[in-house]
């Protein structure tokens, strides 16, 4: 394992440090296919420049503990970009942009189990890429909203047609967005939070 000398470690800039009063963190996961704009969305609302956490797995993706010293298996590095929004002096919200493939999710403890909820970011040019991830979230009981990232050259379907195509229940919010715009990405997060709030009001 390479490790940079501690003198060369570049930590957070002074303005990127959290106050000592920060006691509670929550997270929201942004999930979608490759190139759908997850990192763009994280970057547009984050108060810090997006950072990357990595994990290494073998191609088999199992028995990670057995692989040290084994030269025969191929190691794959999986990266996840994330950002941060300070809500109050005590409360911090983290946003993780994660690959849609479920086999990578176990690499990070409690990635979804510990999240408040998820945003499924969808590109209408490749709608079917998001099908599996939505199903996985449904199976795990993770509440999510769907954000349609409005690429200029993407097919425009009416929202009700998209809702039918995605087989979304009427109460699951769908919203169009431009992930490059801070206000638009913020609205997506607001939509998710409002939806989660409504779930606490309605009887189970």
């Amino acid at each position: 394992m390479d490790f940079k000398n501690s003198d060369t470690i570049v930590g957070p800039r002074a303005e990127d440090t959290l106050p000592d009063t920060a006691t509670t963190a929550v997270k929201i996961v942004i999930v979608g296919g490759f190139g759908v704009g997850k990192t763009t969305m994280v970057g547009s609302v984050s108060e810090i420049r997006p950072l990357t956490t990595e994990e290494t797995m073998t191609q088999a993706g199992i028995g990670v503990d057995d692989n040290y010293g084994s030269e025969t298996k191929t190691a794959t590095t999986v990266a996840m970009d994330f950002g941060r929004i300070s809500i109050t002096d005590e409360l911090v919200l983290y946003l993780f942009g994660t690959p849609g493939q479920e086999r990578f999710w176990f690499l990070w403890n409690g990635l979804f189990e510990g999240a408040l909820g998820a945003v499924v970011l969808v590109d209408t040019r490749r709608l079917e890429v998001s099908f599996d991830v939505m199903g996985r979230l449904e199976e795990r009981g993770v509440p999510f909203v769907v954000a349609i990232n409005d690429f200029p050259d993407a097919p425009r379907y009416p929202m009700d047609e998209l809702r039918t195509a995605l087989d979304l229940p009427p109460d699951v919010p769908m919203i169009k967005c431009d992930a490059r715009r801070r206000a638009s990405s913020r609205d997506v997060l607001m939509t998710l939070t409002r939806y989660l709030h409504s779930l606490t009001m309605s009887p189970a």
């Binding site: 501690s6 930590g11 963190a25 990635l111 195509a165």
Partner: protein, 124 residues
């Protein structure tokens, strides 16, 4: 043009993990128990690095003079998440850091917490 068609799936009982496991467990009898640290557990140094500390531990303690999530530590140190959780677990066992556990979705998050998040987002 008609978009491709998806089919909704039902929740699978048992796929939801026990949220209790996300909280940090320390003080294993042999001091080696691995804490299932969450990505957003906030880590704060309790003291300076002792002279005997490994370089990785020293660097981590320097970074965590202010609270920092495990994910941020991983990013700044350029170390995989799993390696950072091992380092943090060692430092927790040695009482050199403290961990502030995140709020997790047990069944559903608390309403007041969500209201705070909404209010914070509105100010962006």
């Amino acid at each position: 043009m008609t978009p491709p068609q998806r089919e909704r799936r039902a929740p699978q009982p048992g796929t939801e993990q026990d949220p209790g496991r996300l909280y940090v467990i320390t003080g294993g009898t042999d001091g080696t128990q691995r804490a299932p640290l969450d990505l957003v557990a906030l880590i704060v140094a309790r003291s300076e690095a002792p002279p005997t500390a490994a370089p990785e531990q020293t660097a981590l303690l320097k970074l965590c003079k202010r609270p920092l999530s495990v994910a941020e530590i991983s990013a700044y140190l350029g170390l995989p998440f799993s390696v950072v959780t091992v380092l943090v677990t060692e430092l927790l066992a040695a009482d050199l850091v403290e961990s502030r556990a995140p709020v997790v979705r047990s069944a559903l998050p608390e309403r007041s917490l969500l209201e705070a998040v909404m209010h914070g987002l509105q100010k962006l």
